[in-house]
Symmetry: C2
Subunit: 276 residues, 2 copies
Amino acid sequence: MKTIFIGAGNVAWHLVSLFSKNKDLQITHIWSRKKENAESLKNKLNDESIKINYSIQQLDFSKTDVDLAILSIADGAFETVLSKLILPKNCILAHTSGAQPMEMLKLANQNQIKNIGVFYPLQTFSKAKEVDFSQIPFCIEANDKKIEEKLTSLAKQFSNKVFQVSSKDRSILHVAAVFACNFSNYLWTISEQILKEKNLPFDMLKPLLEETLQKALEINPSNAQTGPAIRKDEKVIEKHLHMIEEMNLSNSNPHFSQIYKLMTESIQKKKKLDLT
Amino acid sequence: MKTIFIGAGNVAWHLVSLFSKNKDLQITHIWSRKKENAESLKNKLNDESIKINYSIQQLDFSKTDVDLAILSIADGAFETVLSKLILPKNCILAHTSGAQPMEMLKLANQNQIKNIGVFYPLQTFSKAKEVDFSQIPFCIEANDKKIEEKLTSLAKQFSNKVFQVSSKDRSILHVAAVFACNFSNYLWTISEQILKEKNLPFDMLKPLLEETLQKALEINPSNAQTGPAIRKDEKVIEKHLHMIEEMNLSNSNPHFSQIYKLMTESIQKKKKLDLT
């Protein structure tokens, strides 16, 4: 399959490497809004045959021999890029986003695209960090059974966990992932900042962080809740709120005590409901 | 060292096992408000010589030959238990709490206790789950240099990470741990609930959860933030809020959309400040 990549961000960075190791796939073009991103990705692959496109005017691939186009760009860029993207008639266009409905892709080929699908790896990617694709769940969707099969069998070459997931379910997974990952990371950032403020090493918390996650994965988070909130330890809660306010962190971010209060209240409310 | 344990909860459960494997230590008594807890802990050790005390009247150890008393009880029970606890004059009394100042222990022996300290393992414990103590940071404090040395050398028999930490710093670590662990676990619970509501398996998120933590540990959470909030992807944020409200989760917990909004706002505020 002759494949082009539209996008050279974190997800594309890893997928391009993955695809390049597969003999059935040939990457012919990489497009990125930023030329240097496409070029560093090309350099990473060390493949001189790959062509680089980079301006919004260079999205017309109608004369290119291409079977599969992977759209891997920021959600906010979908409309602009799709309004300019033109692919050969039989080319499959698949995006890699958790948040975008498949139907968005119909904007390609001036609303005349035929074969569309989704090829969404449910994982967080950073260029600097290698990932093991075999454990990453792939969410596949297509507007046609044959295309779904093609994308599924492609994903199965990389991962043991391939699922057919509708746009609606994918967006549910995405919002759940925002709570579980983006917001958790932010809570760790708050911890990091509190400790930094007091010259204490964040490293001291690392074994606790690892064990907390391992426990939640083993017995499920709803069975793993501990801490002053669920114990209704009002004295400790009050002390913590007082400490946060005293710490003068409110200068850098007024939300820390609000977050502490809201999370505590919500944990306590949940417990009450579970008991009824 | 002849040792008694006051408390038979999650922390005591693991510390007692740990202590029982050390030949220099001899556990003579276990006290718990609940007789059955002390008994199951004794049964776990399979040591008939251990005595069980269980009522609030059985906290007078003044006639007992004991060198070290470990107080490992809920924060809310400190005052009640300490007001009744009486130890031999030269016995060291150390507690295992993240939240309680060392000075609280002065309530023991009717305010006549001499040797007090803290022996706090910075970890989350559940009875059912074994932990590797060698990686757990121990926070040690004492009101006397010699006692500090004793508790430090004791902790070093179990862990490679032993620190002298003041009550003030320990309470900072504790509040940071509440954000990083208790509140993160609650966010995972929200995810679990969202997915359950829509019959999607929480398992699909597990690789993402593991990678998110690994990345935060490697490059620090403040460098690892991703997601719609930090990208200021207002369309996705609006869509998510709409979805959460539509999901009717508000019946079971009215805070999910509030938490989404507040976390998003705080992440965005933080980013802005870092750029100035």
